[in-house]
């Protein structure tokens, strides 16, 4: 896992949840492209953070993890997307559900929320394999000390002996507990591996949340 900061010569403010396409071209002309969610908030002028998870046999993520160095130049296209976005004006209460690196676009939303006045109530339910694999762990704890944000972790493979959070895959009863204070007013964003997104979206609907209050973004098979 690595966070890259890109200085953009033609910066335009993004909407939290949007992504950039990164294109890499080899000396022989071979070219390939991947889409990465923006982790930073739009209040940061002139640059963006992309948090990249290295996936097995991932030719682009391996390059970004190993080879890239400060000062390298990239061809990027963005910001892109208008569906999976949340801005302060979108309102709330905000219910965020993440699996693994699916937390990245939600982090942009939480950083944006922290940067603007008039914070809506927000809850994040975040599934990771183990304690050391929680992305942005310290920053999330810091953000949760601010008004109106609560962060709930679940660890699916291993957890410390004194762990007091959830310790299983996200399921219906877990979501029912986390969404309870918001009820049917919640505005939900779910991002993660496809199976997690399906489970969470179905559970939220079963708990009475209208489909038009649920936005989803599916990742490839990276697992949680």
């Amino acid at each position: 896992m690595k966070t890259l900061t890109l200085a953009l010569p033609e910066w335009t403010p993004h909407r939290p949840g949007q992504h950039y396409d990164v294109r890499l071209t080899a000396a022989d002309g071979y070219s390939t492209q991947r889409s990465y969610s923006i982790a930073s908030e739009p209040e940061r002028v002139g640059e963006i953070d992309l948090t990249v998870e290295r996936i097995p046999d991932g030719e682009v993520s391996a390059f970004l993890d190993d080879v890239v160095k400060v000062g390298d130049r990239f061809e990027v296209r963005g910001p892109i997307g208008g569906y999976f976005v949340w801005e302060a004006a979108s309102g709330g209460p905000l219910l965020l559900v993440a699996g693994g690196s699916g937390v990245v676009p939600l982090m942009s939303m939480l950083r944006h929320r922290a940067a603007v006045p008039g914070k809506v109530p927000a809850r994040l339910l975040y599934s990771s394999r183990g304690f050391d694999e929680i992305i942005y762990r310290d920053e999330l704890a810091e953000l949760a000390r601010q008004d109106g944000l609560e962060v709930f972790h679940t660890l699916t493979r291993s957890h410390p002996p004194d762990w007091t959070g959830y310790a299983r895959r996200i399921d219906g009863p877990m979501l029912a507990e986390v969404m309870k204070p918001f009820g049917r007013d919640a505005l939900a964003f779910i991002c993660g591996p496809t199976a997690l997104v399906e489970t969470a979206a179905n559970a939220l609907q079963a708990n009475g949340l209208p489909p038009d209050r649920i936005r989803t973004e599916r990742f490839g098979p990276t697992g949680t």
């Binding site: 992504h19 889409s35 963005g78 997307g81 208008g82 199976a195 399906e198």
Partner: protein, 91 residues
């Protein structure tokens, strides 16, 4: 499609091809809506099932899983097949 379906890992949603859609149509398209020509379901392109591992991109209806949009980028140009949608409505 449910969470136990073995095909799930191969499927993303239309949001994943937002960049390609924007390059092809010249504008943000994930919040554009389309009507499925097979079952009549009305959905935003971001909500369609996206299959991206083939030589092109295929978008299928989330309700009936039939093909709505196919996009193939080739050396001879970009081919866009929208026979599976009765129309697309730009936001």
């Amino acid at each position: 499609m449910n969470a136990d379906d073995p095909m799930l890992d191969a499927v993303l949603d239309g949001n994943a091809v937002a960049g390609l859609l924007r390059a092809v149509f010249g504008t943000e398209m994930t919040t554009a809506s389309g009507i499925c020509a097979h079952c009549g379901n009305d959905a935003m392109l971001a909500e369609l099932l996206a299959f991206t591992r083939g030589p092109g991109v295929v978008l299928r209806c989330r309700a009936c899983a039939e093909v709505m949009v196919r996009i193939a980028e080739t050396p001879n140009g970009t081919f866009i097949d929208v026979r599976g949608a009765t129309h697309l409505r730009m936001p």
